[in-house]
Symmetry: C2
Subunit: 463 residues, 2 copies
């Protein structure tokens, strides 16, 4: 599979290429002790990072998923996923990477698979329109929540359970629901067992943003016809690469860490392929939620974290690149490139005599896109802006598996370098508790009182 | 229209609410001279900012657009827009704001309008799939480029012109093409006149990112059934509000400016409504490309600019809010809220005895979404993070017109405060020229030689 190995090119992170703002290889040597400690920690903690075993330990799970997926494909024309955060971003990223952007619109683009809608928001207008559009009789609803207490997802579940039972009857309704949740804990597994829903499990130690390679990501992918064995094979292949001295995940993290320590608080991911656009979305959660932390492991207030920004080449050359090239030296840019596209279109040799058009004729769109990617890389380099490029020989399940696993490993390793817990998210509790208090949930009376006692807004500052 | 007036609430930008990181009203007083100068400049330069007249001077343009739109709706089932940057972001934002997210999928959601595809990238796989999917006989292609030399858009135009002529014949082909471009300059207008295409004009002094309210945005909107007169009426209403002492656009800019001067180099826009998600995309170009500049007007190197980040409530509470609450104090968050949604869905009172679910029953999704928005605002405030909220009483053409115009005015005013040219984009030239050089375009031999002379990449740094 060497010909499908993804590559990390970090020449343009270095001072040799981008000048004074770049990294000197000696800076990497200077933190070698920290790197060694992080490498040792990653080895020692393998057992606590259950997501790292997902490429290797799911033979039975995959068989179960594939058997169920075959049934679903025969029976339903629409799949709706209710999930939020990692439960949505992973499935969306994978679907967009592998399938046509017109998958839901054009039947021939989905080769017999059902339409896929990932309902990752509770916008009432969207939900009403979704429910108006789908035919309950031919739709499967997949509910994804590890805890079984995610308010948004569980509200959606309550709505659809009720609708299905009212429209199809309780007995038929249960075949239209499938739950992916913890095997033991939480309400969803209890409800699923009581009601007799088909269930898949999120292993312990696999948090939402690291769940793409467990049934959270695999189930909708398999139902839509994505080769999940190849996806896991790609992840396993990257796991091997991460054991070599030239570990791309660790190098990615080290370069980001050094950049962060030098004040680059923004990391842009800019794929040059529509298929990779939502990988940047998935990664934005992974990087932001894992590394954005108030405390280090010793309990010191550190307020670390780098803000991920999603861009798309070539499109955002006409939107964001002006800022990247001329604005503050506050970011690094990660380009994602593709060697070979699944299809191409030739530009005809019309207007040969028009200077600003004639030079395009006879080339293909892939050639134009690649030239623009290289041109952006060159412009960033020339402006002294640190950037690196990850290249996929082709966008397929095997390369996407590598990419996802590499970015997960890089994130975990960056957490070690920063000495923070990359796997919790204590900062979201405040908002959750405030929501409960607004809703008058029993047990949140103190929070409600605290909120009521907050200073009232001054109408003068509402204009 | 007072009941549809949008509101800016900036209480949580102030130290009184968010503590030491917040702004003290005295700080605004301290830069009063600068503010006064910017106000005077905005008044003096009105003639040079032709986009500010668009709400007022387009009666004939609107009539022409509406007449043409009626023809198109009767004749075509699909509209494809070829455009990039502002030519794409504005139309996408407006379409998503007003119409169902399932507009292209579900015929009843588009009330007789054609499907709309905005092809704002040159990804070869996407383009091949788009061309595979559409029926040329019933598709209108709208080509948008002010200069007539935008490589991406013109390449798309060359491809489709050729396909149409080969498939439908030259005479029929011309009715499937409409061009929006400069009235006098560039290749596109020359070609359009030679070929006999219908044309609409982008007025002089209206740059791409300020073009939403001219035919660039109005034409696809009108074809899809959006009330463009109400959109312009909303913009005109905001223009009036911007003449009052409580100018929301200027206040928005002043608060951002002070935050920028204090090192907040990131500005998050987080709509709590699916319909406003792509407004944040459109704004990201406006804010980034207008304010990200190397030089101030005196020619000093300043490297200013704030990086816009797009988030979506409630979805990204499960992705980004951890970072916003606990990470560095490097950003401000602008929430977009909606008072009243077009539809709502009630959560049934099932699982009344389950503590983490029962409290949801009997409420609606709109209530849950709004509570979560307020909870996020509260959590940000409590964590000492500056934030403000723009509220739309309802999402409709009139409120969207206000919002777009307010953000355009705010951007221009911020440019005055920063003393930079908010209307150029010199930083993108390097990349354009490098692309021409890669393609061997005559006249770019020197650039090619410069690029060839750049240091070769070291294979050691490609892993």
């Amino acid at each position: 599979m060497e010909s499908f190995r993804i590559r990390l090119d970090y020449n343009n992170m270095l001072a040799e290429f981008v000048g004074q703002d770049g990294i000197n290889p000696a800076e990497i040597d200077k933190i070698q002790a920290k790197i060694d400690a992080a490498v040792a920690a990653m080895a020692a903690k393998r057992d606590q990072m259950a997501w790292r075993d997902l490429p290797h330990n799911q033979d039975n799970v995959v068989s179960d998923i594939l058997a169920y997926a075959a049934q679903v494909r025969a029976k339903f024309d629409t799949l709706v996923v209710f999930g939020i955060g990692g439960s949505a971003l992973g499935p969306i990223a994978l679907q967009q990477a592998i399938h046509s952007p017109f998958y839901n619109i054009c039947q021939t683009h989905r080769s017999g698979g059902p339409r896929l809608f990932v309902a990752d928001n509770i916008d009432p207008a969207t939900m009403a329109r979704l429910l108006d559009m789908v035919d309950l009789k031919t739709t499967l609803f997949s509910v994804v929540s590890k805890s079984g207490s995610t308010s948004e997802t569980m509200a959606q579940f309550m709505i659809i359970k009720n609708m299905l039972e009212q429209n199809l009857g309780k007995s038929a309704a249960k075949d239209h629901l499938v739950c992916t949740t913890d095997r033991e804990n939480g309400n969803l597994i209890k409800i699923a067992r009581t009601e007799g829903y088909k269930t898949f499990y999120i292993p312990g130690g696999v948090g939402g943003r690291f769940s793409q390679l467990c049934p959270v990501g695999l189930l909708p992918a398999a139902i839509c016809g994505i080769d999940i064995r190849q996806l896991l094979a790609g992840a396993a292949y990257m796991d091997d690469l991460c054991k070599s001295d030239n570990n791309p995940a660790y190098m990615y993290a080290i370069l980001h860490y050094i950049a962060m320590m030098r004040g680059k608080n923004i990391s842009v991911m800019m794929p040059y392929a529509d298929s990779l656009k939502y990988i940047a979305d998935w990664y934005a959660q992974l990087w932001a939620e894992s590394l954005g932390k108030k405390y280090d492991r010793a309990g010191n207030v550190v307020n670390v974290g780098q803000t991920p920004v999603k861009a798309l080449g070539v499109t955002d050359q006409h939107s964001q690149v002006q800022l990247y090239v001329e604005g503050p030296y506050d970011k690094i840019v990660v380009l994602l490139g593709v060697d070979s596209f699944h299809a191409d279109v030739e530009i005809p040799k019309t207007f040969a005599d028009v200077p600003s058009l004639g030079f395009l004729g006879g080339h293909t769109l892939a050639r134009l896109l690649t030239a623009e990617q290289q041109a952006t890389e060159y412009a960033l380099m020339k402006a002294g802006r640190m950037n690196m490029t990850i290249t996929l020989p082709q966008v397929n399940e095997f390369t996407i598996g590598q990419l996802l696993y590499m970015l997960e490993m890089a994130t975990a390793f960056a957490g070690e370098l920063l000495d923070i817990d990359a796997f919790d998210q204590p900062g979201v509790e405040e908002g959750k508790n405030a929501t409960y208090a607004y809703f008058g949930r029993p047990g949140y009376e103190t929070k409600k009182a605290e909120m009521d006692a907050a200073p009232a807004k001054n109408p003068k500052y509402i204009i």
